[in-house]
Amino acid sequence: MRSLIIASIIFTAPQFCLAISPEERGLEIVKEADKRDMGWKDQKSDTRMVLHNRHGQSSERKMHNRSLEMQGDGDKSLITFKHPKDVKGTSFLTFTHSTKADDQWIYLPAIARTKRISSNNKSGPFMGSEFAYEDLSSQEVDKYTYKYIKDEKLDGRDTFVIERFPAYKHSGYTKQIVHIDKEMYQPLKVVFFDRKNALYKTLYFRDYHQHLNQYWRANKMIMENHQTGKSTDLIWINIKFGNNFSENDFTKNSLKRSR
C-alpha cells in the first residue's frame, strides 16, 4: 500500500509541481496511448459500412482491410471493396506519413489500371459515407497538436478530454474534441469541427475488445453528421493479428491482385 502511494506521488507529482502546460499534458496522454498501441505488427479484418440518410434509408458497403505497422513512419494499408458489386475489386493502397501528405493509389479492375490519387483529397467522403479518408487513415501522433482540457466521466467511464488540431493544412477540420478512456487509452468519442469551426460530426467507438492481451479495438464506429442528419456505421468483423504481412504485401503489385 505504501509503495503504491509512493509510486503515485512519483508519477503524479510532476504534473502538479512543475505545472506542465495543457499542451504538454495533451501530448503526454497521446504519446502514452501511442506507446500502448505499439508493436501490433499487422492486422486484417472485414468491415461492413452502413450508410444511413436522413429519410431512414440505408445502403451497405463491404470491404477487406489489411494494415502493416511501420517503425519510424506511418502505417501502410490496403482496402479492397467487396460490395456493391460494381466496385468489387476496387482497392486503395495508402502509405500514411506523419509529417507530410499520405501517398495513395487506387486500382480499377475493369481497366486493370492503377492511378495515383492527389494527396490533398483526404477531407472528402470515403465512398459516399460520413467518414472522410483522413478519419480512416492511421492516427499518427504528429498529425495533430494537442491540448488537455479536463477529466470527465463518459457513460460511466473515466476519460481524458483533449482538443486536437490537425497539423495538415488541407484537413477538413479545424478542431476535434476527443474523449480518451483512461483504462484502455483509446478514444470513446470524437467531436469534429469544420473549417468554419462549426459543429460538424461526432464519432462514437463502441464494443471494444482486447487482442493479444494488449491492443484494444472497437468493433463498431458510428459517425453522425450534425449538419446533414446522415450517419454511417462502420462494423469490424474477423479482426486478426499475426498475419506475417511484409512490405511486399503492400505494393502496387499487391494492389492489383487484392480481392
Binding site: 450508410l51 440518410n53 445502403s59 451497405e60 460490395h83 456493391p84 458489386k85 460494381d86 466496385v87 468489387k88 501528405a101 501517398d103 481497366i111 486493370a112 489500371r113 492503377t114 492511378k115 495515383r116 492527389s118 494527396s119 490533398n120 483529397n121 477531407s123 472528402g124 467522403p125 465512398m127 459516399g128 488541407h170 477538413g172 511484409s246 511486399n248 505494393t251 502496387k252 503489385n253 491482385r257 480481392r259
Partner: protein, 394 residues
C-alpha cells in the same frame, strides 16, 4: 482433356483452404446516332447485349489463384461487333520477392487520360469503345520481381491478337470499311511471332516512374487497300514489327498531378517519337459541397504530324471530371480534344451512377465537329451519338 485434368488436380489439392466465387455483369446498351448514316446498311440506332462473368479461386492464403473471365457481346446491327473473347484465364503464384502470371490476361501501363501511348501489351478491342480502353485478352507469361529499388516485370507474349474494327454495317467506321479477316504481317511468323516486353516501375516519394521496352508485332496496324469477297473495296490491316521504348512519369504535388508519357518507336527502319504531357488539378469540396472537380489538360504530340494514323497529332485535350462523392458514386467526365491548326474537335461526355446495389447506369456521348476531308476520321463526321448502358452486377 489435359486442361480439365490439370484444373481438377489443382482443385483436389487445395479444396480445404480454397476460396472461390463467381461475379461479373450483364448489360444492355442502346445507341442513337444524330445523323442519317453515310453508308448503305448502317442504322440510325443500335441495341447490344453483353455478358462478362468472372470466376476466381485462390488457395494457400491467396498466394495462388486462378481467374477466368470470358466476355461476349451480341450486336443488333454489326456482325463484327458480336464477338467473344477470353479477357482473362490467369494462373497467379506469389513467392514474396517474385510473382508469376501465366495464361491470358490484361495489363495496363501509363498515367495520362487522353491517350495511352506507353500501354502496349494488350490489343485494343476498338469495336467495344472508341476510347481504346477496352482490351482483348493477351496470352502471356509474366514474371514480376519486387525489390526495394523497384518492380521489374518481364513478359513473353506468344500469340498476337488483331485489333477489332466495326464491320460494313457498323457505325463509327472508316471508308472503305476495314476487313477483319484479311490482315497481313511483315513477319513471316505472322500472328505466331513471339513478342517480348519488360517494364521497370518505382515510386520515389512524390514520383511514380515507369520505363518500358517492347519488341514484337505492332498493336496499331497500317492499312493497305484490298477487296472483300463481293469485290467491294476494303482496308486491310498490315501489322509490322515494332521496337518501342517508353517512359511514364507522374509527379504528385498537393492538388496537382503532373503526367508525362513518351515513346520512341522504330518500325521497319522508320522511327518516330510521340508524347502526351499534362496535368490533373483537383478542387476538393467545391462550392461547400462534397463534390470534387478535377480539371485535366494534356498536350498530344506525334513527330509524324498529319501522317499519324491516330486522331492525335498535335492536339490539346481539355477535360473536367465531377465526382459527386454520393452514395451512388456518381461521376461525370466531359472532355474535348481539339486540333488547334485544323480546328477539328472531338467532344465526349461520360457519366455513371449506381441505381441500386446491383444496377448501374452509364451514359456516353460523342460529337465530331469540323472534321476535314483530309482527316483520317472524316468518315465519322455524321456519327455523333448518345449511348445508354444499363448493367446488372452479380
Amino acid at each position: 482433356m489435359i486442361a480439365r485434368f490439370t484444373l481438377l488436380s489443382l482443385c483436389f489439392f487445395c479444396t480445404p483452404l480454397m476460396a472461390s466465387e463467381w461475379s461479373g455483369n450483364v448489360s444492355i446498351e442502346a445507341q442513337w446516332f444524330n445523323h442519317a448514316p453515310l453508308f448503305a446498311g448502317q442504322s440510325r440506332n443500335n441495341l447490344s447485349l453483353s455478358a462478362s462473368p468472372e470466376y476466381f479461386t485462390s488457395w494457400e492464403n491467396e498466394k495462388k489463384s486462378l481467374t477466368i473471365e470470358p466476355f461476349i457481346r451480341l450486336d443488333k446491327n454489326d456482325s463484327e461487333r458480336s464477338h467473344f473473347d477470353i479477357r482473362e484465364l490467369m494462373f497467379y503464384s506469389n513467392h514474396d520477392s517474385w510473382e508469376i502470371n501465366a495464361g491470358i490476361g490484361k495489363v495496363f501501363w501509363g498515367v495520362t487520360e487522353s491517350q495511352h501511348l506507353v500501354d502496349i501489351v494488350n490489343q485494343t478491342d476498338l469495336i467495344e469503345s472508341l476510347d481504346a480502353e477496352e482490351k482483348l485478352g493477351q496470352p502471356m507469361i509474366n514474371v514480376s520481381f519486387i525489390r526495394d529499388w523497384g518492380n521489374t516485370d518481364v513478359f513473353i507474349l506468344p500469340g498476337f491478337r488483331t485489333r477489332t474494327f466495326p464491320g460494313k454495317k457498323g457505325r463509327l467506321r472508316t471508308d472503305p470499311y476495314i476487313s477483319n479477316n484479311q490482315e497481313v504481317y511483315a513477319s513471316s511468323k505472322e500472328e505466331k511471332h513471339i513478342d517480348y516486353a519488360a517494364r521497370y516501375n518505382h515510386t520515389l516519394d512524390n514520383w511514380d516512374i515507369g520505363l518500358s521496352y517492347f519488341y514484337g508485332t505492332n498493336r496499331e496496324p497500317e492499312f493497305v487497300t484490298g477487296t472483300d469477297g463481293k469485290g467491294n473495296p476494303v482496308l486491310v490491316p498490315f501489322y509490322k514489327l515494332l521496337h518501342q521504348g517508353g517512359l511514364d512519369l507522374q509527379w504528385v504535388n498537393e492538388d496537382w498531378l503532373w503526367k508525362l508519357e513518351a515513346v520512341h518507336k522504330r518500325i521497319s527502319g522508320d522511327s518516330y517519337n510521340a508524347y502526351t504531357f499534362g496535368f490533373e488539378y483537383t478542387l476538393v469540396g467545391i462550392a461547400e459541397t462534397d463534390m470534387d472537380l478535377g480539371l485535366i489538360s494534356e498536350y498530344l504530340y506525334d513527330t509524324r504530324g498529319e501522317l499519324a494514323s491516330t486522331l492525335f497529332q498535335r492536339d490539346i485535350m481539355l477535360g473536367a471530371r465531377l465526382v459527386f462523392n454520393d452514395t451512388q458514386s456518381s461521376e461525370i467526365l466531359a472532355g474535348l480534344i481539339l486540333d488547334p491548326d485544323s480546328h477539328e474537335k472531338l467532344y465526349s461526355l461520360e457519366a455513371s451512377t449506381r441505381l441500386t446495389d446491383n444496377w448501374k447506369l452509364n451514359v456516353e456521348a460523342r460529337i465530331f465537329s469540323g472534321l476535314l476531308p483530309s482527316s483520317n476520321f472524316y468518315s465519322l463526321r455524321d456519327d455523333d451519338f448518345l449511348q445508354v448502358e444499363l448493367l446488372y452486377y452479380f
